[in-house]
Amino acid sequence: MGLVEQGKIPKPLTWLMNYSRKYSLWMYQWGLACCAIEMGAALASPRYDMMRLGVIPFPASPRQADLIVVSGTLTDKMAPALKRLYEQMPDPKYVISMGSCANCGGPYWDSYSVTKGVDQIIPVDVYIPGCPPRPEALLQGVVLLQERIQNEEMGPRWRGEPIIVGQPGAHDHLPETAVAVSSA
């Protein structure tokens, strides 16, 4: 399958493959805090029923997952585990950061034990705001991710090159030192 990595797939085929991929996202649930319950509601509650969107929420292990939803507060004690499991996922892989804690540390922005944002550990494709976001907001985030998958170049994704979705200076509004301190 050298063609995909080299980005030499014909356009219609790319469209077809992207279309297929976006509707069969195996989602690894990284439920951590309050947002995990809202994620659970989006998955298990009949009112939201995320499987309608082609999101399959029960992969046996991260090695079978395409998408990881980090929902909740990531602490410094937990961060290595997240990093390790993320590295086990096969390319192409996607990350949704759900809720203020996962985006930026949220209510615990000044805490001594909380990582200030998942994007300091792993690259994030979609940020969902809210504390916690409504289940519908998660659905909207998934729809947004599916749009991105539809329009994406497959080559770099397949090669496992991290696509920097957020700009490098995602934490520009924080001074450099704050970021350094939080990861220490």
Binding site: D76, K77, G105, W109, D110, S111, Y112, S113, K116, L174, P175, T177, A178, V181, S182
Partner: protein, 244 residues
């Protein structure tokens, strides 16, 4: 036991003074009638190791000497039938050093008074360990406190009296650095093993708060020319109106 002069002088006054200072309703007696019996039972077991006792918002607060901490647990359990352990925790009574660039008016980061005061039943120094035990049959509870030496903070462990004390003491050790003599394994409970410092001590800084510039500083550029400052400044009015 390093006795503070002030508290030492007040001890004979049987705990009336601190209670009066703490309570907005000053008429309240130091010991509520329903607590007298409980206190007598504890007093019988502990003797002069019971330093101070006071009723605080309907709860009996008893301060014991550091070396009687274990005996206090036994007394509460056997005499008062307090089988239920609610929690064990600590407190650091010193005031927090102000970080640099601190705005004393910032409503978002309250400033505590600089002078060191102690709570109900007083204290001897910086660290205190306190616990709440309850009796589920008699529906009573006692708050027990003891002073801990600042230079070498340690106190007896309760793990043999209340098995649940295990985790609470680990937490207290991690947060305040108070050793519990006789605890089977004092190791980190919340934080990763390589974490340094004791977060709940008042001198442990929150670095993120110190390095991030406070967005609440009034950032309103003066008008070029500087005229008209005295004429009805709406911003100042707003702050005055909203702030008070």
């Amino acid at each position: 036991m390093p006795d503070d002069d002030l508290t030492d002088a007040e001890e004979p006054a049987a705990a009336e003074e601190p209670a009066a200072a703490d309570e907005p309703a000053a008429e309240e007696p130091a010991i509520l009638p329903e607590h007298v019996g409980m206190l007598a039972k504890l007093q019988a077991d502990l003797g002069d190791a019971l330093v101070e006792a006071v009723s605080n918002h309907g709860d009996l607060v008893v301060r014991v000497r550091n070396d009687a901490w274990h005996a206090a647990a036994l007394a509460a359990r056997s005499r008062l039938d307090c089988e239920y352990l609610s929690f064990i925790s600590g407190i650091d009574w010193t005031s927090r050093p102000d970080p640099p660039n601190w705005d004393p008016d910032a409503p978002s980061s309250p400033v505590q008074p600089k002078e060191v005061t102690y709570g109900a039943a007083g204290s001897d120094g910086r660290f205190q360990v306190f616990a709440v035990v309850e009796s589920t049959d008699d529906k009573i509870q006692v708050i027990l406190k003891t002073d801990v030496d600042e230079a070498d903070p340690h106190v007896a462990s309760w793990t043999d009296v209340y098995p649940g004390a295990d985790w609470h003491e680990r937490e207290c050790w991690e947060m305040f650095g108070v050793r519990f003599d006789g605890h089977p394994s004092l190791r980190h409970i919340y934080l990763p093993g390589e974490f340094e410092g004791h977060p709940l001590r008042k001198d442990f800084p929150l670095l993120s708060r110190e390095v991030k510039p406070w967005p609440g500083l009034v950032d309103v550029e003066a008008m070029p020319g500087g005229a008209g400052e005295e004429a009805g400044d709406e911003t100042a009015e707003a702050v005055a109106e909203g702030g008070e």
